[in-house]
């Protein structure tokens, strides 16, 4: 389906995707450094290409440097909603007659805004008075008008035409995702269909049309219910994250708070688009059976015509230092689970590379310290994992350890056992054998990451966007190799402290029979 909110799921191991060229035997194959071709358009768009001629196919990853982190309170969920709207087509695709359609869409927006405002005011008033909400005469009239306009707008719509064109031409894996830091659009096509992609995507970058807005807002509400409200883990991580970040936007759920989603407007969405989706904020990685010179010509002819947008607003809010442990419980009709997070610096900071090592030593593989002790030997936990870049990488983030207890053991026992291992990191140096395992794993992952076109395209576009250069993946390997056992001890002692941590605990709650979805405006 269209959207995957990747950044919310723990366990995206950024480290596991590093590419370098230091594997014995790997020297025979052309190294990645030699294979990536870079091209920058005058309007600021970056193109990265890798030729692979195994099959006549191509994978394309288009990544914008925008995500939940660029939102304001009251407008949370905007980046993700825009991602949905981006599939609704343009002035030429997805419509039977854009000029006539536009007039109806303008009316629909006016009525929709007024209806949102009145419904919200009336339902707040009803709640204050302790009465059930019932739509007033005026609201009912607005609802009728809204429905008429929606039906009229519907007459112009060619449903999902952009996706349909891709599929018809053999496209597979059409998808998009919004995270804290980035938004991406992906597709794989038979290689000779690249002009179709360039035509559709340059049109979408230049002239998107926010049709079927209110319906898609309803779809996003259903997505929120599915991924967050009805999901024990979804709810645990939403609450945990917003507890750990009190000022910075990393604390806000990317899908948006429910009340904000229901208040998003076409005008706010369009303004967001104009600010963040210009060519100067885009990187395209194209991997497969291509001829780079032809691809550059194609992209210059299509995307090259789009003017650069004004510079992207910079993020100003910083999370203040945490002064004392924060603990939060989340009640849910599910078995217990635990998440522990420590604030840490992010990409490029020397200590970030040390965390990459700590992450691997603690949880990577069945011989890792936490798996070995908690799961295999002591049998306190059914699972344990960690993530060194939660919930994003563009700003200082969290090192997170997550575990589920193995009954009859409790989250408290598991938590204590985890702290024991963290103290061990501070007290004694990691062994050379452990360190060797970390590097072997990194190097092998790096070779494996070259296997799939789409995986490689994803990596290149990701690091280009969040680190400023895809070459980060090459330098990171050497920076990790330079980490010393003393660094690990120092960093563990500095960051893995009680006052710097946030603990979220999912607590079993017996089901109650209350009605779901009370008081929601539904259309």
């Amino acid at each position: 389906m269209i959207s995957l909110e990747r950044a919310r799921s723990i366990g995206i191991l950024i480290v596991a995707g590093l590419l370098a060229a230091a594997v014995p035997g790997y020297a025979d194959s052309p190294s990645l450094a030699d294979r990536v071709i870079e091209h920058k358009l005058a309007n600021g768009m970056t193109v990265l290409m890798v030729e692979r001629h195994q099959a006549p196919i191509v994978s394309i990853n288009m990544t914008f440097g925008v995500g939940g982190v660029n939102e304001q309170v009251g407008l949370t969920g905007l980046a993700h909603l825009y991602e949905h709207m981006a599939f609704k087509g343009t002035r030429t695709v997805g419509t039977r007659d854009f000029e006539r359609e536009q007039a109806v869409l303008d009316d629909l927006t006016l009525v929709g805004n007024e209806l949102d405002r009145r419904e919200r005011a009336d339902s707040t008033k009803a709640e204050m008075e302790g009465k059930p909400y019932a739509p007033s005469q005026e609201v009912q009239q607005l609802q009728r008008r809204f429905k008429e306009l929606q039906d009229k707008a519907g007459e112009f719509v060619v449903g999902n035409e952009m996706a349909l064109l891709y599929q018809r031409h053999g496209g597979v894996g059409l998808n998009a995702s919004t995270g804290k830091d980035i938004t991406r659009y992906v597709i794989s096509l038979p290689a000779n269909r690249l002009p179709l992609w360039a035509a559709l995507e340059s049109d979408r970058m230049a002239h998107p049309v926010l049709r079927e807005f209110y319906k898609e807002r309803g779809v996003v509400m259903e997505e929120r219910r599915l991924r967050t409200d009805d999901s024990p883990n979804g709810l645990l991580y939403e609450t945990f994250t917003s507890t750990a970040f009190q000022a910075h936007q990393y604390g806000v759920p990317t899908i948006g708070w429910g009340s904000d989603i229901l208040a998003l407007t076409p005008a706010a969405t369009e303004a967001f688009f104009k600010t963040y989706y210009g060519p100067n904020n885009a990187t395209v990685a194209i991997v497969g059976d291509i001829k780079p010179q032809e691809v550059i010509a194609l992209i210059e002819q299509t995307f090259g015509k789009i003017p650069a947008a004004p510079p992207i607003p910079t993020l100003v809010t910083e999370e203040p230092p945490q002064r004392g442990e924060r603990r939060v419980e989340i009640e849910f009709d599910a078995e217990p689970a635990l998440a522990i997070g420590y604030h840490k610096p992010t990409i490029g900071h020397p200590d970030d590379f040390v965390f990459d090592v700590i992450d691997e030593v603690l949880t990577e593989g069945v011989t890792s310290r936490l798996y070995g002790t908690l799961v295999r030997d002591k049998r306190l936990a059914a699972s344990v994992l960690s993530d060194t870049n939660y919930p994003g990488v563009r700003a200082p983030n969290l090192f997170v350890i997550a575990a589920t207890p193995l009954a009859p053991h409790t989250t408290a026992e598991v938590e204590a056992a985890i702290y024991e291992q963290l103290d061990r990191l501070k007290a004694e140096p990691i062994s050379s054998k452990e360190f060797e395992r970390v590097l072997n794993g990194l190097d092998a992952d790096l070779v494996r990451s070259l296997r799939s076109n789409s995986g490689l395209a994803s990596q290149l576009a990701f690091y280009q966007t969040v680190a400023g250069t895809w070459r980060y993946v090459l330098s990171a390997r050497d920076r990790i190799a330079a980490v010393t056992p003393a660094d690990v001890q120092r960093v563990a002692a500095q960051y893995l402290t009680k006052s710097n941590r946030t603990v979220g605990v999912l607590v079993k709650k017996a089901p109650d029979k209350k009605m779901a979805a009370v008081g929601e405006v539904s259309r």
Binding site: M1, V23, P24, G25, Y26, D28, Q54, P56, I57, G159, N160, A163, L164, Q167, R168, H169, G170, V172, L174, P190, N192, P195, A199, Y214, K215, E216, R217, G218, V219, M221, E222, E223, R225, L226, D229, D230, S231, E294, L298, D333, E335, G365, V366, T367, V375, R379, T404, L406, A407, N440, G441, A444, V447, R448, R451, P511, K513, A516, A517, R523
Partner: protein, 482 residues
Amino acid sequence: MRRVVGQMSFLATVLLLILHATWGWAADLATDNPRTMRFPTVEFNPPDAERVVLDNGMVVYLLEDHELPLITINATLKTGSWLDPADKVGLAGMTGAVMRTGGSAGMSPDEVDEALEQLAATISIGFGKESGSASLDVLKKDLKRGLYIFADLLRRPAFEQGRVELAKLQALEGIRRRQDSPGSIVGREFAKLLYGATHPSARETSVRSVESITREDLVAFHRQTVHPNGIIVGVTGDFEKGEMLALLREAFGDWAKGTVPDVKIPSVAESERKTGAVRFISKDTSQTHLRVGHLTVKETDPDYVAVAIANDILGGSSFRSRLFNDVRTKRGLAYSVGSGLRASVYDEGVWLMRAETKLASTQEVVNRFVANMERMRNEPVTDNELEEAKEAYVNSFVFSFTSASSIVARLMDLEYDGLPKDWLQQIRDKVVKLTKDDIQRAAKVHFNPERLRILAVGSGEALSKVLASFGEVQEITLAPES
């Protein structure tokens, strides 16, 4: 159930891309209207794998691919949880899991784990319903060491007692947690509603069945079902065929043949299949999690391809499908909505429509399911829909051959299922020939409103009222798991 149709790419096949293509699209750029763009079908002759049978009956497919210094060995094993005794459900799954974790004749469990992680190699072993699988993924330089461990685990697993106990504890924790999420409940309970709770395609482990499994049971299950003449091996990556065959003969050649089970899944009683049912499960959720459907054809049924394309147009093809357009795009009632067809050569298939939606729109969504199903039965699909389905299929065909490992995996699957090497080619030819009448006829026979089974997980009493218009509603009460 290893091939799933419902996504077009699964219909696509290995062997026949002899279609046409040229580069030089630069000439076509004058017409940059994506609606009218036309491209030649891509030409591609994928490499063919070599098939060798060892003296002990082990089948080996080999396909070299020298781009990266990696080697992957995959094996499909003739075993599966369909063989689980009724009082030891979970036995096959646990046998596969502990073959990987429990050490071998030559190495302790810890030695295996440490060796693999030091080499940055992975071995996984798992037994599913109709087959088992095992794989080794290793850097070229570590092949010999990796292959030794792999073969030792397959042939001489030690099932160390401590690791057996750990696997049992993990299985019990899994049981304890399986009612946590409504999505997991609705999937498992719908299978039971279709096949019956004791059928191999729906039955579940219980605390009692897991507790009753012993190390001796695992040893016996391995001894009875894992034999070289029941194994198909596929090797891809950076190797040379002659050397690889010598290594495989060294690792597996002296392994004696045994009696291999033939996969047989019992049929569901005809009487059971004919009736509809409406059921709900009460869980405090913000959405109703819906499954609506019934049992359907096997993959070898003459109607299979027509049913697959009918399903594709109804709800299988994501954005193109009628259900997606109707329920999600036009009405905004669900994030995830569609239909699915899952069929294998062994077992009755499943056809279902699915969505999650808030309580207030539950009835409307079920109504749209039924209405769209009836429309497939009562009127032919449009010319455009049929053309789109066929074009999507033919044009995405090339994605079935994207790598040496995908080519070999397909050959292994077909051989395991006793299907001809050109099976997918045959399916492709049938797709291309399908008519609107074929699709309507298949829909009429195989999408049956009388047989619909409806399952909803959600907000208790209110939900049962909402469902009452679809038949007599009964509650399924989940037994406490611990």
